[in-house]
Symmetry: C2
Subunit: 239 residues, 2 copies
Amino acid sequence: MKTIEIKGAWQGNSDCESCAIRSSVLFAELNEEDFSKIHAPIDDFSFEANAELYAQGDSAEYVYTLREGYIKLLHFNPDGTARIVRLVRPGDLFGMESLLDDLYKHSAIALTNIHVCKIPKKIISSLGDESPRMHRQIVKKWGEALSQAEAWFSEINTGRIEIRLARFFLQLSRQSGENSVAPLFKREDMGLMMDVKFETISRALASMAEQGLIANVSKLSVQIPDLARLKAFAKRGMD
Amino acid sequence: MKTIEIKGAWQGNSDCESCAIRSSVLFAELNEEDFSKIHAPIDDFSFEANAELYAQGDSAEYVYTLREGYIKLLHFNPDGTARIVRLVRPGDLFGMESLLDDLYKHSAIALTNIHVCKIPKKIISSLGDESPRMHRQIVKKWGEALSQAEAWFSEINTGRIEIRLARFFLQLSRQSGENSVAPLFKREDMGLMMDVKFETISRALASMAEQGLIANVSKLSVQIPDLARLKAFAKRGMD
DNA sequence: CGTTGGTTTGAAAGGACTCAAGAGGGGTGG
DNA sequence: CCACCCCTCTTGAGTCCTTTCAAACCAACG
């Protein structure tokens, strides 16, 4: 297990007030007055795939918003094994531990090339004291993170792998032209999400393709020819 | 799967200001002035084991604090299977979804006889607007819940079952007179926590007892003769 | 064109599941 | 107070799924 050191590229300060995805993120409920209270700079960074934004145990100074790409949150067990505890998607907030503790509780590693906003925690705490709107938004985001983690945990980790994979695809699928597409990640990573070895993921994908549940399996994505059929499969398996 | 209807017994209104476990729960940081703003009643309830406090999908009107006993939070998957996503322990807050959504995201069922405080959500929101301390405490509790859920997820669901059980015991063990003791729950429930069938739990317990890692396995608890040895086992397995 | 990192595939071994039967404990009614 | 029932836990044997260890494959890259 080697540590990869990749520096993020600084992309300039963010203009949060006119941010395109602002409505879905942390500052959604802020008004002009609130923005005027932001003094510390909020940086806009991009990282390459495999870059580690922070490691479990690092001193936590920033909260992040993911603008583009995917990030895995890795929790390391005492024995050195690890699990992916959350898959961060665009619009999600992560690293919120910084707001109440000094240490990150998990590592954050880019699965793809990403774009993030890096928000110093002191902005939040100072703003928070004056702006109930801000606090409300944080509580809300936090709650969403918890719900997502629980649902993820429950649905992606129960039953035979083919079923877990099916649910995984359903959660991540989006319309793309004619048909639905779901992203794939390194087999190793997918194994860490679902608690199986990467070979098992590979075999399950092959088997599902053979059954026609998915098509065009590549390194990065699958097509879903028939969403309804996959949904049925996710429920009952293939009787 | 049958639904059990057990009414909670009302134990009177809570006197939060002089609550014995107040320091560890929601109102920890409130001062006298804050308390004077609480008008709606906070009820003190007790429930028997197996009572369902609320069900996934129910309209969420209360936040709860667990004073005594254990509670399981169950997430139901679309296909009807379920997983225990969190084990609530004394001092923990649960049902926080009520603060931001209308529906509970999981069911809460008593594993033992319990004692809870039932806090109407409007108290929180009204208090929260005026008291940053309150908000801070909520954020903190929420963060703890998320961290706990992630750690739980990762450590209790990775590796061979005997190892999962070992980690489970280490998390829940407490000193009791001479030696350490960890609680056990119905094998079925333990299976839902660790994603195995109840027979597998039973077998794993037997095997661990045979290896001397645990002793005096009963329905409700195990003794841990040698914490250090169990800890070593949780890391490396039994080479 | 040989390396390299990641993916696929194969065969054998191991762990968990299923189905099934039996044991233990607590509660109820005779 | 004992017999009986029900619920839960334990244990066994065979099957199924996942892991392990290995080898082959593939695409990207220097």
